[in-house]
């Protein structure tokens, strides 16, 4: 698989379509699975990990999946390519940084990915644009069924799918929905939403998962409990709260427009203006400003630019993407200059002329 081709597109999760895509960026489900006859990854020798990798590669190649998944061995990748896959949410930061034989099997649309020798032997992920929990679940359930015909999972009647960490045992499922919530953040109501979610055992994380900040006003909401509830029971719980959060965000956007239309317009115009003309841009500032531009498009305050363009810029301005696009390794300062220039060029191409 040629990773360089990935840099020019935004991938599935930033496609910018699907139900409720003005607020819901993407839906992602992952299943943790282990092979019955091997020690867990953290306890496996390098030779055993190689054995697991070879076995999974061979079995995955036989899956009746169209199109087929291609396997990428992580140790053979440059650190830039690893970072690229992390930025596209195709592998975890943990897999990028781990030791020993490990890799990922990827579908060409980037909707399906299967990490091998992460914390668990197998971490299957399906990702789709928009609010599509049911569709995403059916897809991952289907791929999991196919895999299960080929490999023997570690499973017990009592505890379900057995995982290296007891926090994942049972269904092994983590379902998460990524939301763009600039207005709730602006009105500080976001804290209230978080507290309510925590009470029902749902976790809120930033863009790149555990420990990452909610840059660009992106938030991932996911289940914490994996044992004692069925997959559909867990999905129903998430399904129950997301529409409410979407309604709150829409209300907050409307009252922001009603109470301070000029202020909001100015904020968006300044964001747009800066993106089109700055000569140095940090990653953090870019996320913040693109977030306001995205809000402006959704509120029809910005007409000459589309959501897919903004989504593409979100990913292309990440450090590894930027360096791949430039074809050179860049230090922090150089990246800031390259980022600003990329934004200027792309927004002008897209026909931008800020009001």
């Amino acid at each position: 698989m040629n990773l360089d081709s990935l840099t020019h597109t935004s991938g599935e999760w930033l496609r910018g379509s699907g139900p409720e895509s003005d607020i819901v960026i993407s839906t992602r489900i992952r299943l943790a699975r282990n092979l019955a006859a091997f020690p867990f990854t953290n306890r496996a020798s390098s030779g055993q990990k190689a054995e697991i990798e070879a076995l999974v590669r061979e079995r995955v190649a036989k899956l009746e999946l169209e199109p087929k998944l291609s396997y990428v061995s992580v140790p053979t990748l440059s650190s830039l390519d690893r970072q690229l896959l992390v930025e596209r949410q195709l592998i975890s930061r943990e897999l990028a940084a781990a030791d020993g034989p490990r890799g990922v099997a990827l579908g060409p649309q980037e909707t399906v990915s299967l990490m091998v020798n992460e914390e668990d032997h197998l971490r299957l992920q399906v990702m789709r644009s928009g609010f599509t929990l049911d569709e995403t679940w059916h897809e991952i359930d289907r791929v999991d069924d196919m895999l299960e015909q080929r490999v023997t999972y570690a499973f017990s009647e009592e505890f379900g799918y057995l995982t290296a960490c007891p926090t994942n045992v049972g269904t092994g499922m983590r379902a998460s929905v990524m939301l763009h919530l600039p207005a709730l953040e602006h009105t500080k109501q976001i804290e209230k939403v978080f507290r309510a979610l925590q009470k029902i055992n749902l976790a809120v994380r930033g863009l790149y998962g555990e420990g990452s900040r909610a840059s660009g006003h992106f938030y991932q909401i996911s289940n914490q409990v994996t044992l004692g509830k069925s997959e559909t029971g867990i999905l129903d719980e998430i399904h129950g709260v997301i529409p409410q959060i979407i309604t709150y965000e829409r209300q907050a956007r409307m009252s922001w427009l009603r109470d301070n239309r000029q202020g909001l317009q100015d904020k968006i115009a300044r964001a747009y203006g800066t993106l089109c003309s700055a000569t140095m841009m940090t990653s953090e500032e870019t996320m913040e400003l693109l977030s306001f531009l995205r809000l402006g498009i959704n509120l029809h305050l910005v007409e000459d630019i589309t959501i897919p363009t903004v989504n593409e810029l979100f990913i292309q301005t990440q450090p590894a993407h930027l360096q791949k696009l430039r074809g050179a390794s860049l230090d922090g300062e150089e990246r800031n200059a390259a980022r600003a220039s990329h934004l200027r060029i792309r927004l002008r191409e897209a026909g931008a002329h800020p009001n």
Partner: protein, 162 residues
């Protein structure tokens, strides 16, 4: 509210319920970070998990602390320190410690979801295969090639069970 360790404002609030007694902790960001309860403004789940693993045990600790999994060789105390199990069979061997822990994390200790359509390996057989693999690894490390060949053959005869 002030931090319980210094006089800065408390921004991290943790509540823990142990045998229906509520324990509350109010800390500032930097004290919470120092005690490894939070990381970069975010809750540090592994640290909390390790805390939980240690807390629920009570008088069972002695008995559990002597346990070693015969299949993968991990000791219960190693699991306690790392928060990661060594192999599927640990769920059988450390059951006494795990069931209450699972109850704390998930408020349940019984799987309700999907079940593989194919019959799964019986626990004893899973354990046996993991143990054979461990002995094979030891033989390889010791360069005891005859023993390694014998074990590899045995594994093959027992079925690969990927």
């Amino acid at each position: 509210m002030k931090c319980q360790f210094c006089s800065n404002p408390a921004t991290v609030h943790l509540t823990d319920i142990v045998d229906s007694h509520k324990k509350e902790l109010h800390l500032c960001q930097s004290c919470a970070e120092q005690h490894q309860l939070v990381e970069k403004q975010e809750l540090n789940l592994p640290a909390i998990l390790q805390n939980l693993i240690g807390q629920h045990l009570g008088q069972q600790t002695d008995e559990l602390s002597r346990l070693t999994c015969p299949a993968c060789g991990i000791k219960y105390m190693e699991f306690r320190a790392q928060g990661r199990l060594g192999c599927p069979h640990d769920y059988v061997v450390f059951r006494g410690g795990l069931a209450p822990l699972l109850q704390r994390i998930h408020r349940s200790d019984r799987h309700l979801g999907k079940t593989p359509h194919r019959s799964v390996l019986p626990p004893e057989q899973q354990a046996e295969l993991v143990e054979l693999r461990r002995r094979l690894q030891i033989a390889i490390d010791r360069e005891a090639f005859e023993e390694a060949a014998r074990l590899r053959d045995l594994l093959r005869r027992k079925g690969c069970h990927g």
